[in-house]
């Protein structure tokens, strides 16, 4: 090694040792006769000291070292006069006897500090410099440890990590595939996996009993802020299990991860029916760090002459504790919030529960003090609380109130990023109605099994059939989801039929799976977690990009390597494809 030690490990116990360090110049300071250089590597920062009187040429050389120069320095460890208690190496410095510049650096386009002055685009282009900053270094270190601990737990539970192929087959169901033209099979294409779903099921048919894999998955979707075209899943499957077994096994995984990465002991996860989650939180991934549950008010508020409520399918509200002192301006801001196009409410009704027992509402014209007292009773509101009510179409109103609840949770500081409230949401519907295509879609995916006790409804009222499907949610973030699968060929065929597949389509796309079901398919089920999301949650960040070494921007571009890019006509010819002429 070019060094004897890293920049993060020398302490007073190493005093008088001769050492050689390598790293990057974080900063340097000239103080009269002394020059100090902070040398940085992955492990920490160590102060190099140069004395102008003792060795003038060396000190002058030190004064030429610019930021981000790569330097090799040899010297002796010495106790510092003014100690820095904030860093592990803060008690010592290196009295340098020789210094070598291993590589120079141009001035970086932004500062390599915890808070940088670089904009998003510039930092994406120079990602290798952005990655030098501490916050990103910590993110990737956490992600490494996360992956390692996942594997440790799964290995201890006798899961095998088995790699499934990346060059697979395109299936129009679900999101859009990335495809790969085949040169050896011209006119044909591979697809990149959206998930290894069918392969992990085949591994169960093959008797592998417990499978997992940390695996890249691909979706060619229009990107939202928190999506990437390639993302990493912890993909898992088990044989001879019922839903409870999956929940227990992976609740165990999450508890283990919280303990080993954050030293937090989580209590048993509560379970919530999907129907309850929707009714009480307006979301299938409720943040239960705080209450503020929905209360439905139709019976209380309708037929009192207030047209907006009378015509609404649903009138529903929340009670924000201690927010009765909100000013006109604050209430207007909330109204503006719910009216934003992405929230979509028409307006907001409020009731302040005054300290003197009276109520002040935005609908005083229509509702008496006695009426409002009834509302207040419904919420169990106390003096000082603020009731917020939305009305309209059921689904849209629940969805809007969910956003308002989260906003109020944030404003009232009820969403502490250092507190973690996990839960399982269970009993998802098997199917959801799609207005556009006017048919049912699989809510989870076409391989999910219906609940036995609901199966009789499959023809008469398919929307009512619940599935053996479940999501793990922490702090309002869906970390993972899965289901007990169908393992019976006939049932799988019926399912494809229900989802609008013709027999030919089902066979050409999933024939191999249905064939496999004829050769002794065991009962099985599984789950998949979003590794990027878990990393972000553990790191206390909302953005998964900070936990991906080389992410893409919202147009799916890698700004650093400038990809995608045109390819040569020779490459196109070899693949026997051509670009369509654009019709302007």
């Amino acid at each position: 090694m070019l060094r004897t030690n890293t920049c993060g490990e020398l302490t007073i116990s190493n005093e008088t040792q001769e050492v050689t360090l390598c790293g990057w110049v974080q900063k340097s300071r000239d103080l009269g006769g002394m020059t100090f250089v902070d040398l940085r590597d992955r492990y920490g920062i160590t102060q190099l000291a140069f004395n102008l009187e003792v060795d003038k040429p060396l000190c002058e050389k030190a004064r030429t070292l610019g930021r981000e120069f790569v330097v090799k320095a040899t010297g002796f460890v010495k106790e510092r006069e003014s100690k820095n208690k904030n860093i592990p190496t803060g008690e010592i410095e290196i009295i340098v006897t020789a210094v070598e510049v291993l590589n120079e650096s141009k001035t970086p386009p932004f500062t390599i500090e915890d808070d940088t002055d670089g904009g998003e685009e510039l930092r994406m282009k120079y990602r290798y410099l952005d990655l030098r900053r501490n916050p990103l270094k910590k993110s990737l270190a956490l992600r490494h440890k996360l992956g390692f601990e996942v594997r440790k737990y799964m290995n201890d539970q006798e899961f095998f990590e088995i790699e499934t192929p990346y060059l697979i087959k395109s299936t129009p169901e679900g999101a859009r595939d990335f495809v790969v033209p085949s040169r050896m099979n011209q006119g044909e294409f591979y697809a990149l996996p959206q998930s290894p779903q069918t392969f992990k099921q085949l591994l169960m048919v093959a008797g592998y009993d417990r499978y997992f894999q940390l695996v890249k998955c691909f979706r060619d979707e229009d990107l939202r802020a928190d999506r990437q075209p390639e993302f990493t899943q912890i993909d898992c499957e088990m044989c001879f299990v019922e839903q409870e077994d999956i929940l227990n096994t992976f609740e165990g995984l999450m508890k283990y991860l919280f303990k080993s990465l954050k030293n937090i002991e989580l209590a048993d996860f509560p379970r919530m029916d999907y129907a309850i989650a929707i009714k009480e939180y307006g979301s299938d991934k409720p943040d239960i760090r705080f209450g503020m549950k929905f209360h439905e008010l139709n019976d209380l508020v309708q037929n009192k002459g207030f047209n907006v409520f009378d015509q609404a399918e649903l009138v529903v509200g929340i009670c924000a504790e201690g927010a009765a002192n909100y000013s006109r301006k604050q209430l207007d801001a909330l109204t503006d919030f719910v009216r934003k196009p992405q929230i979509g409410a028409n307006g907001l009704v409020y009731v302040k529960c005054n300290e003197d027992g009276t109520f002040k509402s935005s609908v005083d014209k229509f509702y008496s003090q006695e009426d409002l007292q009834e509302w207040s009773n419904e919420f169990g509101a106390k003096a000082g609380d603020l009731i917020l009510v939305l009305a309209g179409n059921t689904n849209k109103t629940r969805s809007a109130l969910n956003e308002l609840r989260l906003e109020m949770g944030t404003r009232l500081e009820l969403r502490n990023p250092n507190e973690f409230s996990p839960l399982w949401v269970v009993d998802f519907p098997l199917l959801e109605w799609d207005e556009n295509s006017e048919r049912f879609h699989a809510m989870h995916h076409p391989f999910t099994s219906p609940k036995n006790e609901d199966y009789h409804l499959i023809k008469t009222d398919p929307g009512k059939v619940r599935a053996n499907a479940y999501d793990m949610v922490v702090n309002g973030v869906e970390l993972g989801g899965g289901s007990i699968r169908i393992h019976d060929k006939e049932l799988q065929e019926k399912m494809f039929d229900l989802l609008g597949f013709t027999e030919e389509e089902a066979n050409s796309q999933f024939g191999f799976l249905m064939n496999a079901f004829e050769y002794g398919a065991p009962p099985h089920g599984g789950i998949a977690f979003g590794l990027d999301r878990i990393a972000a949650l553990f790191g206390g960040s909302d953005s998964i990009r900070d936990y991906i070494a080389f992410p893409k921007n919202n147009s799916g571009r890698d700004m650093m390597i400038d990809s995608p890019s045109p390819i040569s006509s020779e490459q196109l010819d070899e693949l026997q494809i051509e670009l369509q002429t654009k019709h302007v």
Copy 2:
């Protein structure tokens, strides 16, 4: 769980316990009043026993269980009368009280036995059945453990596993890329990585110090027997290192893997110059489990009137110990062997060292007993040995003699699969001349650094310049290779120039890397191992396919899912590409 125990764990210590097992019917036997069913799962096989007299309906039900039926059986553990010492559960059987068929099975198209009657193609199509066989189960279990232990070692050595992107940029240098059309950036393409080479170098520029990743890589090559279009690498890179540091770190990894997976303590790995490997073994990946080194004979044998030798650029041979008793037929077989087109020699000269001290050769016409004694002396041959000599063009002859040496090693049983002889081959040439394009190619890749002491030859005699490049070889198999990289922008530019890149080509393909070199790039180097190959070596197999759950055939097809396949015209339109019309 549907079971209380697995089929691999019950022993005499569980006697009288009531248990429930789930698994597949391996086979069943009716012996008079008893029916025995072998139930199999990932963990083993347990015998189920049914007594016709005790419970006739149950026993009759058991007699309907076909091979590969999935069964759940409850009963009591009982000591067996006739024990099977070959399996861990062989002392007990289950006296079954209830049995449930969880799923039936059609008769499999081949037997699920260690030695199956299924042909390659059938087994590929029904891979999920082939994977039920013990040899494949052991292969995938070994691969799982291998990956886990690699990660354990690397984590202990403070390497971070960091995921690099799969959707990157096409670079014509090297093998052919698989490409992925971009929908959001029309007319442009991503490429799948042939290796994460540039990304790992950028992680070093970013200061991550020690990186590794188990990662899929992709090459669109015409497939040879032991190649797959997608394969897995253990990809590694380190900062502030010299060649010795890489060799020591990864020799440590391999020793650790041999110890933890095979309980073998390997001695320190010998190191061999590339030039020596070529001269003495005719290969850059010599199998050194046995000697049989090359001896060059030009000085001894030329100008004695034997035209074939006189006109040869190289006359070179090996001495096969104890093979002087080879029959005419055996010698003819060897001649046929070296004459095969893929070996390419014109003929084979032999000298038998007889027990009586005389010599018998195929060139007695031209060489006296004294001449042959001199040959024998050159090889240090003993009575009973067989000298085999080839002649011709240097490279071709060495290559042919390498094959003959390996063949003789096999015939003389010198290549014991349970013996492991690792070595490092070092000092590879930087460049190799390509006859077709009439220019130099990078022997490793364009990022490999030349040796300082050879650098002065770069203009005058570039073929002589050695690189800081190395391969790890075990038993004649190249398990991995790497190099110390260039970290200087100017040198990297010169290298691209030497390799025939125009400045524009170099910039458009690798501009991001050369830019990165201007911002404080540290000295760095690394290595990449073929995980599939390591697994096959450890498993004692020549075929990597047995260590890949879902491999592709030689046409790059997945026979099971029948991929690649045509995609819809809607998909093509969205991607703005079309298939070229074939010109018949």
